[in-house]
């Protein structure tokens, strides 16, 4: 076997490999903590302000999910940014045509590898535990829901209330009563998305999908189509309204429903 030639460093006239001076834990900690702090504050404060005001439990869960994942992201970003910044600061940082001397190969200590795996696993577990805890089981809406049959057409939503003759493009819902949307489409796939309720379901032709939600705030709720459905997808929206049960019964009656049926659907006592 031919003898080894001079090492690349010796040929280039440089010294043997040295450990870079960068990598101060203090810098990493400071920078990382700063990023994590800013991120955490943002993650706790911003979702409540930016997301639409929740009008159901599901929407409240969404706000909290943003906060939880946001804080985890802030911590992760802090760790990464801190380590990255520290790697650049205070050491052998050279630009120009000749490289700095080689840094020695670092054996991946088992403890470091384990720490990395544990940290990432902790992130996974945290997100999964949170995600499972807010996962709503089927049939969560409880007994005797208000049933609304939602049909998506290109490019309008129609709403029918079984047991009444109401079948039009306006949607009114009683406060505090569980609602069961039975959603379908007559042409292409749409997305039925009452934004303030924080949940949606696909409107698929030939299939009925179910969305259960309980409105817990009075006021308007914008319903937007969330699945690209052609030319006027952007315009396929409804301004739904959550009203008190008696106002809801009143509205049903105004649409030609017998009073007793209207009061029953609205959940009012006889």
């Amino acid at each position: 076997m031919p003898s080894e030639g001079p090492s690349s460093q010796e040929v280039a006239g440089q010294a043997a490999p040295v450990e870079g001076h960068g990598g101060s834990w203090a810098v990493a900690g400071l920078c990382g903590a700063g990023v994590a702090l800013i991120g955490t504050v943002a993650a706790l404060v911003l979702p409540g302000r930016i997301l639409p005001r929740p009008a159901s439990d599901a929407a409240t869960d969404v706000v909290h999910t943003f906060q939880v994942v946001g804080v985890l992201a802030a911590v992760a970003l802090g760790i990464v940014a801190g380590l990255a910044a520290a790697s650049l600061v205070g050491g052998h940082v050279r630009s120009g045509d000749t490289p700095p001397p080689d840094a020695p190969a670092r054996a991946a200590a088992r403890s470091v590898t384990t720490l990395a795996l544990v940290a990432c696993a902790a992130l996974v577990v945290a997100v999964v535990v949170w995600g499972l805890s807010v996962l709503t089981p089927a049939g969560a809406a409880g007994g005797d829901p208000v049933v609304v049959r939602v049909t998506g057409h290109q490019w309008v939503w129609t709403y029918a209330y079984p047991g009444t003759r109401v079948n039009g493009t306006s949607l009114e819902l009683p406060l505090g009563r569980p609602v069961e949307f039975e959603v379908t489409s007559v042409d292409v796939t749409h997305g039925f998305h009452p934004i303030a309720f924080g949940t949606q379901v696909e409107a698929s032709p030939g299939v009925v999908t179910v969305l259960r939600v309980t409105p817990d705030r009075l006021g308007p709720v914008r319903v937007q189509c969330s699945q690209l459905c052609g030319l006027l997808h952007a315009a396929m929206a409804t301004d739904a309204e959550v009203v008190s049960p008696s106002d809801f019964a009143h509205w049903l009656v105004g649409q030609g429903t017998p009073t007793a049926t209207a009061r029953r659907i609205a959940g009012l006592a006889r």
Binding site: A103, A108, T199
Partner: protein
């Protein structure tokens, strides 16, 4: 194809053989002629019946595909095989491009380096078209009810933008990385299937022409995922689009098979799996994943084509069809595709981190296992695209767990990049800038993906701008940034010149800032409730959109500056030595750019006497300068 034998010096046009005349020009002529004849004939045959326009479109596009590739010479290898002839030395010489000069880039060329650059050219064109689309989209969204583009045009642009970008990035990885650099890294003098490799790029070129032609023949406003039943309804351009995607599948599978075979069979002697660089592992795993999963796209496209041209009812609900079938089948391909796109840039970032921190990749063996884990998990996570289809809680819960599992291998890879640069000897050259931007973006992109993986969140955010922001952070901020860094890193090898870094840094900072502004503003708009793929929106989202558009203009400017720096440097940059980065993998042991067969003789790695002390180290091979001189003399500059 009888006549005078081919010569290594181009003859005057009249005396050339048929084979010598094949090339892009011949391809365009034959392709357009065949398509025109087919169009005329199919008009007569089909126009009167049902599905007539779609059939005419389909026949025309197939004729274009067959004719163009006949003119280029793509069908020569299979025809020769069927006719029982073996290409002689003159044909091999012609095909490998000897004596053709620059024109070999416009021909069927079996030199894997030429094919790599051909893919790069195609990628730049597609990314450019996609980029123009992005600027148009963001300009439309400057005001809530803009009349800049009509709704049809907007939908068409959204679709074309998405497809051109996804395909463009894919070609960027297939060409410069898998075709050009990979064999050099492995110490190979060629790829395993050079003729198939060349066929792949020309099939893709004809498919790309088909894709871009949809702008002219009507456009399809279906989004890049082209969901059915909307895809059944769209204009005949959708038929052309579906055929273009079939061509894409052929190209990706061809390229994937070639890459896998090259890695398995043509490594330098002595390069065991342990000593194979991380970049090679990344390309190998991504290629294998692509071959395994592209069938999903082929299936849905044939179903859509059957519905559109033959009246089948796969996606027609009144006759038993199901839109959910499309979604499930599409995402069996779509989800792994995202990781086919992610893994090679990750590998490139690790290589760059090692070179510019002057040490081996931290725990390379663990990194490779993470790549394998990412590829494996990606096969199981299509469920998170289906949360809003009325999925049962059991399926939602299991999709949640599987999706969030990604954070483990991806997070470990990020920590290994950090472990490589930590207390390294930092050499702050331009590729390293991309490494650090990659790190920042992958945390934001990855954690927003973790958010969307939670069913409760996704049921609010599906179809909204938060999804758009997440996917762009990943595709632009991570994949494209990593790929761009890799291109700058291997630029001296491709062109023999150094990348002009001052201009490059300007481009880099514009891109870095542009990404954050554009897509953080989209997170904001999405959180407010703005849906995606909409031409108009509620006034409440105006500020977020305006900020995003400004960011998009900055980002676009950044890419243009970077591209311009690249083009300028390719012509006027400082001549580059074989090993400008004093790096240690084998591609730096050959001149820049490499000669035809890369290494004058197949390199052999001596056995490892002692452990380098790095656990599973594969990237640093410790090649002494004196042995490097045994390779062919390089151009200019010190060794």
């Amino acid at each position: 194809m009888t006549g005078p034998t081919t010569s290594s010096v181009p003859r005057p046009f009249r005396s050339r053989t048929l084979r010598e005349r094949q090339g892009v020009a011949a391809g365009l002529v034959v392709g357009v002629l065949t398509a025109a004849v087919a169009w005329a004939a199919s008009h007569v045959l089909f126009e009167v019946g049902n599905w007539g326009t779609d059939r005419v479109t389909a026949v025309t596009m197939v004729a274009w595909f067959v004719g163009f590739n006949a003119g280029v010479g793509t069908w020569n290898p299979p025809l020769e095989w069927l006719l029982g002839s073996t290409p002689g030395p003159d044909v091999v010489t012609l095909e490998v491009g000897v004596g053709r000069g620059r024109y070999r880039y416009l021909r069927f060329c079996t030199d894997h380096k030429v094919v790599g650059m051909q893919y790069l050219g195609l990628a730049v064109v597609l990314l450019g078209v996609g980029g123009v689309g992005a600027v148009l989209i963001r300009t439309q969204l400057l005001s809530p009810h803009s009349t800049f583009l009509g709704p049809t045009a907007y939908g068409d642009v959204v679709t074309l933008h998405g497809l051109c970008m996804v395909i463009g990035v894919l070609l960027l990885l297939i060409g410069p990385f898998a075709s050009y650099v990979l064999p050099l890294i492995l110490g190979a003098r060629t790829v395993a299937l050079p003729r198939l490799n060349a066929m792949g790029v020309w099939i893709m070129a004809s498919a790309a022409a088909c894709l871009v032609s949809t702008v002219v023949i009507g456009g399809a406003d279906v989004g890049w995922t082209t969901y059915a039943p909307l895809a059944d309804q769209a204009s005949p351009a959708m038929t052309a689009l579906a055929l273009a995607l079939v061509g894409l599948v052929a190209c990706v599978v061809i390229s994937g098979i070639n890459t896998v075979a090259t890695v398995v069979t043509l490594r330098a002697r002595g390069m065991s799996a342990r000593r194979m660089p991380v970049m090679a592992w990344g390309a190998f795993i991504a290629a294998g994943l692509a071959v395994a999963t592209m069938a999903g796209l082929l299936l849905v496209m044939t179903l859509v084509l059957a519905d559109r041209t033959m009246g089948t009812t796969f996606f027609v609900a009144p006759q038993g069809g199901s839109g959910e079938l499309y979604e499930i089948a599409f995402w069996t391909m779509g989800q792994p595709l995202l990781y086919v796109l992610l893994i090679p840039p990750m590998a490139a970032v690790l290589e760059m981190a090692g070179s510019f921190a002057r040490r081996p990749v931290f725990n390379a063996r663990l990194v490779v296992w993470c790549f394998v884990a990412i590829a494996g998990i990606s096969l199981l996570t299509l469920g998170h695209h289906l949360y809003t289809t009325g999925l049962s809680p059991a399926l939602s819960g299991s999709s949640l767990v599987l999706t969030e599992l990604f954070a483990l291998p991806v997070g470990v890879v990020v920590l290994c990049v950090l472990g490589t640069v930590w207390r390294g000897s930092i050499w702050a050259r331009l590729p390293l800038y991309f490494v650090y931007l990659f790190l920042w973006d992958i945390v934001i992109g990855g954690l927003s993906g973790a958010l969307l993986g939670i069913p409760t969140a996704d049921r609010d955010l599906h179809g909204g701008m938060v999804v758009t922001a997440h996917l762009h952070y990943m595709m632009v901020g991570v994949v494209l940034v990593g790929a761009a860094g890799g291109l700058v890193y291997w630029f001296p090898k491709f062109t023999g010149r150094m990348f002009e870094e001052r201009t490059g840094r300007v481009g880099f900072w514009l891109i870095a800032v542009g990404i954050q502004v554009t897509f953080l503003a989209q997170f904001w708009a999405g959180a407010q409730g703005m849906p995606r793929r909409v031409a108009w929106y509620e006034p409440a989202f105006r500020t977020a959109n305006q900020v995003s558009t400004v960011g998009a203009y900055v980002l676009t400017l950044g890419w243009v500056v970077l591209l311009w720096a690249g083009v300028w440097s390719a012509r006027h940059g400082r001549p580059a030595p074989a090993d400008p980065w004093r790096a240690e993998s084998l591609e730096w042991r050959v001149p820049s750019p490499p000669p035809l067969r890369n290494f004058p003789v197949g390199p052999v790695l001596a056995p490892v006497d002692e452990d380098t002390g790095v656990d599973g180290g594969t990237s640093r091979l410790g090649v002494p300068e004196s042995a490097a001189a045994a390779t062919a003399p390089e151009r200019g500059g010190p060794v």
